[in-house]
């Protein structure tokens, strides 16, 4: 065990302080020190993306950082995604719900955190571009199809206002 350090990290607008070992991963700080278990750990080597959170607005893999490195930064996790929306889901969460973009739900918070910042651009992307853009997160349940639909729906909604959810057998909104 090495010497403990005192860190304070802002997560979702709250400051969390703890005495921690320098080797403590940021993902473990978020989950076990701050108690925000919506962030999941899938591989702890930066491949699966399940632990993705936003640091100063940009997605980062919280398993690839030490908690001490996040001192002085502002983090956002899935729990705060619909903050200020009066209990309703964020449009991306709502699109995942309507398009069946999740099954077991384990990878979902990471996808949401990764995708949210790209939504403004994604409205103009074709399906192929969306697939490339989300290829940094792994999902083992959905085969990705409905995640792609969710991104299309959320991006278009946020740009154009309300549109209908896709028909269940529509392979792609972009092709429709």
């Amino acid at each position: 065990m090495s010497e403990l350090r005192n860190v304070t990290i802002e997560i979702n607008g709250h400051e969390y302080s703890a005495e921690i070992e320098p080797r403590l991963l940021l993902s473990d700080f978020i989950r076990h020190e701050a108690g925000l278990t919506g962030t999941h750990v899938g591989c702890e080597h930066g491949v699966c993306g399940a632990c993705t959170v936003q640091m100063d607005g940009a997605p980062v893999r919280s398993c690839l950082m030490f908690a001490v490195q996040a001192q002085g930064h502002s983090l956002r996790t899935v729990e705060a995604m619909n903050e200020g929306m009066d209990g309703a889901l964020h449009p991306l969460q709502q699109a995942f719900h309507e398009c069946h973009g999740l099954q077991c739900g384990f990878c979902t918070p990471g996808f949401l955190m990764s995708i949210e910042p790209i939504l403004p651009e994604a409205a103009d992307w074709d399906e192929r571009q969306i697939r490339e853009a989300i290829a940094g997160n792994l999902c083992r349940c959905t085969g990705y199809q409905n995640i792609v639909l969710s991104v299309q729906l959320a991006a278009k909604r946020m740009r154009d206002g309300e549109i209908e959810p896709p028909a269940p057998d529509a392979p792609s909104l972009a092709e429709a």
Binding site: G38, H97, H100, L102, G105, P109, Q145
Partner: protein, 793 residues
Amino acid sequence: MSRAPADTAPPPRAMGARILRREDQRLLRGGGRYVSDVTLPGLLHGAFVRSTLAHARIIELDLSRARAVPGVVAAFGIEDLRGLVRPMRAISRAPGYRPCATPVLADGKVRMVGEPIALIVAESRYLAEDGAAAVGVKLEPLTPLLTMDEALADGAPVIHDEAPQNLFNSFEQTIGDLEATFAAADEVIDLEIEQQRYGAVAMEGRVAVASYSAAEDRLTAWLSTQVPHIARTGLAKHLSMPENRVRVIAPDVGGGFGPKCVLYQEDLAVCGAAKLVGRPVKWASDRIEDLQTTIHGREQTNRLRAAASSDGRVLAVQADLRASNGAYAVWPYTAGLDSGQASENVTGPYDIRCYERRVRAVVTNKAPMGPYRGVGRVLAAFSIERVMDVLADRLGIDPLEIRRRNLVREFPYTTATGLRFESGDYLRMVDTLAEAMDWERVREENAALRASGVIRGIGVAFAVEQSAYGAKAMGSRQMEMTFGYDTASVRFEPDGRVRVAVGLHNHGQGHETTIAQIASEELGVPVGDIDVVWGDTAVVPYGLGTWASRSTVACGGATILAAQELREKIVALAADMLEARPDDLELVDGAVAMRGSRSQRVPIAAVARRALHEPHLLPEGMEPGLEVTRRFMPPDPGSFAAALHGAHVELVPDTGHVRVLSYVVVEDCGTVVNPMIVDGQVHGGVAQGIGGALMEHLVYDEQGSLVTTTLMDYLVPTAAEIPPIRVLHQESPSPFVPGGFKGMGEGGAVNAPVAIVAAVNDALGAAGNGANHTPLTPEWVLAALKNMNRVEA
């Protein structure tokens, strides 16, 4: 979307509707509760010391330095747990099966890399790993047996004394006159089919938390399991505790796909540790542990012979199947799963009356194989579909036409191995796929494109899916316990809301929604008023969990039976309240009403209140309460869904990559409860199948170390590798299942590797002597392209 005014619209039907999932709300908000989220006062954390050798004798285990590491509370080897935790021994009394023991921690010998040797328990996972690093283990290497040929060779060392010749299992069966059929055949096809080892790789690894109260002698275990009650039975048995003092909670589970059906050594060790230290203990596998030790799948070969007539009918098949089952047999399923299920299904959806199987489950120094989505059936489909493509190529018949000539046409149909396909229309599925893929035109286009150097191919795979095994089918395996039923307990609360408690487990399949749809259909209560609970042995009746595509059939069936019985009581009580005859009443829209009357009705909530809070007003002799528990035994040997997959691929000449251009699935799972969820299951299965066809491979080096221990080495498909998948439904309800359901959770993963291989072989113009193996790696494709160019030149 325009909607009809509410007063004229018929009440929306729950069955068959695209109803959005109830479980999404918590999962999307970060409110899912997985086992690794469980925290308890005084919780300790475990880390395992694991074998670095595939086969070795343990000369020395020194835990003293680990015990001295700051923060370490305890360290356990086999001697510390021997009196507390019995070894697991998966039993089958079927002829030819040899049960072998799995100790909770390695006992004198290790048989695979990753086998747990010691458990360190500390104040944090970090400190537990410090302790694990301080453990001294001396191993004396033995010869590792990594291939089936090595394990079966004369004079090979024996991995388990209980399994001479390194065979868990060996049996043969002949149905029909093989010799005469082969002698008279116009065509004989010889193939050696080989599938690599790959696996489920759920995004959540295995996790266990155990808490023991010595004062009460009660154990509570949170496990990331698909089978809470089977796990409870296993914990009670191996910890020698009364089963009514053990509780298993399996909350949200981050993907199952089969391997989480098994009771693992780590589950028992964590429970044992919690008993010994008197504090709760958690262990969460890291990804390396998960890839090394969570059940693998698929590694099988099939030496295959088929006899056919010149008009394209397959008359007889002979299969010699071998599965590399790894070092241990999984509890309670045994090591007979892969090879057994493959061998039952080799004749596929085809009318082939003459069949011989030789089946061997081989002990090797690798991780155990066990349940993984579509156990064994991938090899079966691979085998018979390759026969069809080779025969089509030889006779110059279109691949769809050769299948038409062989498909089962009349239902019910009982196969040579005794599988009963209860209903279906397989020929129509072929027509539907041909139309959806524009089969003729694409084949012509592919041929035309070849001149310009574009190499494309199209291929199909047809397979039936034995879902929801019946009790006799399971009983024939003569395991320690026979599965083959499941349970639903349906009850009204006093406010008229409904609670359905089921024996299944929900880890992505959307059962909270579909079971509510099924109950809603029977009870006339809105889906939103029905809560479905599962996953806690203290809360739900004994059930057998979720695997083998059984839940909608077994628990859906039980839900219908319970709801129908409940309905009778509701109607009887409402008849008394309305002073009407029960026959004149119906349940609609949350009320019991006189047929054809708008005014004579009583809300179900009032009926529930009468049953639970106004017992003094009940009819003479009626028992208070509205609650029924029923169990349903699916038909034997199961309920058979069917699926036909078509893949269109392009080979990239510079890189050897296989690009999947389009993918179509025609599937028939009987009555569809929720098409959105069925499609989602198909998509996910297909993605795993494409992974298995092209990239997923658990690779061992020559010493028996797993090389693919990270997700950088073990390649799970990303969104970029998976094409859009079109799913078309055909509904042939099962006449033997209430509701007409057939299970369909696995099929996507079964057909997909086979369809991809068929398409690649077509692209190479080599259906006749194409690939009989997976994965089709870029290296292999490049070599095949080179070979093709040489032949064409």
